[in-house]
Symmetry: C2
Subunit: 335 residues, 2 copies
């Protein structure tokens, strides 16, 4: 753009060697005589040479770039996840290409095409996805070309690998805790009804109630209009109109925080009037007031493992196709 770029020929000329030798100086320095290597290094420094990764990748067939597709980076859950992914990837010499989809089909499709064009080595789909043929087709399409890693989602297929927290167990942990605390009217705010995470949680919410012979009250179960604070706030409003409850379980922390806000705005005390618990254990749980009881997904671990799997696959090492992470209950003030 601004400066005419110096390339490998310029270095070769300056150092008085062939371009092959310059290339070796970068990739197999041990194959060169010390003095030639030094000549080349001096030339590189003098002309401030930066190798062109496009050309390198074109021949090496590897870009050391990973695509990351998420719903929305501006959501603490995904923020933590992407941060973890980026950190680990960077440690291993990979760079991250980012795409926000807002869970929109067309956006996802667009990013997949772009990433494939740009020859990423693999794509990580980070965070809950819809369960549908349509969405799965995306994953399978990508997996025909490059490895795919999913976090918080299951799809068994060639070239697709999954890491996820055991949400059935996590839900069980949390529900048992609430019930032990004496709650029998436990409302539930569900996330997107067709996401894997939501389905599992709802299933286990119902299961634990039954196990404890607690009647299931349909009015206390609601699908949130959106899986964020706003959605949680609104869902809670509706629940309050519908019936009475002493505890509230939201499928993610953001919705739980929204619900708390709704409750305090209406004069309820959390937890003495109504206990509230979330899920995911995002950082924010520690900083809202009251601090939020939640179940940890170990978001960072999930992210790092996703990268580890990806790089293992890329380096043709063994990699688990389906890895579960143990969830843990984190009791704070809200419940």
């Amino acid at each position: 753009m601004t400066k005419e770029n110096v390339n490998i020929y310029d270095i070769a000329k300056e150092a008085g060697v062939s371009i092959a030798t310059v290339s070796r100086a970068m990739n197999n320095p041990e194959k060169l005589r010390k003095e030639t290597k030094e000549k080349i290094e001096k030339a590189m420094k003098k002309l401030s040479y930066t190798p062109n990764a496009l050309a390198q990748s074109l021949v090496s067939k590897s870009t050391r770039t990973l695509g990351v597709i998420i719903a929305n980076i501006n959501n603490p859950f995904y923020g933590e996840m992407v941060r973890a992914i980026e950190d680990r990837a960077s440690d291993k010499g990979y760079t991250i290409l980012l795409g926000n989809t807002d869970n929109k089909f067309e956006e996802e499709e667009k990013y997949i095409d772009i990433f494939l064009k740009k020859q990423v080595d693999g794509i990580i789909f980070a965070g809950g996805r819809r369960i549908s043929e349509k969405y799965n087709r995306h994953l399978i399409k990508v997996a025909e070309n490059i490895p795919v890693v999913l976090t918080n989602h299951i799809l068994q297929n060639k070239n697709i690998y999954c890491v996820l927290s055991d949400e059935a167990k996590g839900t069980e942990l949390l529900m048992n805790y609430l019930i032990e605390k004496g709650h029998r009217e436990i409302a539930y705010i569900n996330g997107y009804a067709d996401s894997y995470a939501s389905i599992i949680k709802k299933e286990n919410y119902l299961k634990i109630l039954s196990k404890n012979s607690i009647p299931i009250v349909d009015e206390l179960i609601i699908d949130s209009p959106s899986d964020d604070m706003r959605g949680g706030y609104r869902a809670c409003e509706i629940l309050l109109e519908r019936g009475k409850f002493t505890a509230l379980f939201a499928a993610n922390d953001l919705m739980a925080i929204g619900a708390i806000r709704c409750l305090t705005a209406r004069g309820y005390n959390v937890p003495s009037d109504i206990a509230v618990a979330g899920y995911d254990d995002i950082d924010l749980c520690n900083y809202v007031s009251p601090s939020l009881t939640s179940v940890t997904q170990n978001i960072s671990e999930l992210g790092s493992i996703a990268v580890d799997i990806m790089t293992d696959v890329l380096e043709c090492k063994e990699a688990g196709r389906l890895i579960f992470i143990e969830p843990k209950l984190v009791v704070r003030q809200s419940a």
Copy 2:
């Protein structure tokens, strides 16, 4: 990796034309006869061809990729910023390569090298930076090669463009508001002491106090150990030990939220005992309790404008070198 890639030669063969014609079908379709175009499109579909962006970029000298360097994506301020950047970039056909530096010099250097190698078309340094020769050298180095856009930071130099909120004015707005409300003992939690944003804010905090003939109490001014909630919490603890105050101004929302948490934990009521205000107006301000009075930076606007400037420069259009955004006071419950 998994599938042997089909290239432009395969398409040319399948369609019975030359590769130049295939290339034209993608880039200048209007130059082809309708039927040839159709033949080629059919071939592309049949073989499910994806052009190789590496090769394209190698010749076109443009990757349609922007590097974004930030401190930490897992921080709502940067999260919102990056989201805005990504959105606008995506609308304009650019993809984002992401790098978290945690404000570390070496990390920043590393990402700059990687981005330059990968031939990004430009780099956006999003969010406050340290003011120092050392850090500025980074920016200038990059700007020698490709355009640089800074948000919330000023550096006048060739090929460097800045967008920022007028923080002097924002601080004035806020301080005047607090003083009007009758506060005369206003504590101040500063961010990183050597960042542009911090310097301006502190300067204006002092200025407004003087203007209103309010004595400056050194004990009520503190540099936060870190510019997040934890830092704000800790800074507030120290302030409470040091002296009395009826209002607290933190240089960013996260620190303000940490401070509120510290105050409520110690039994103070916010705002009746101590009023608290932050800066930046991140989404979260609406969802903490009490909701946080702040000054909006219009983070999203900042991000979009950063991209607009970048693309204008890349397309050789006129672009402002220094753009200020008007801040606005957003009064909520905390002050």
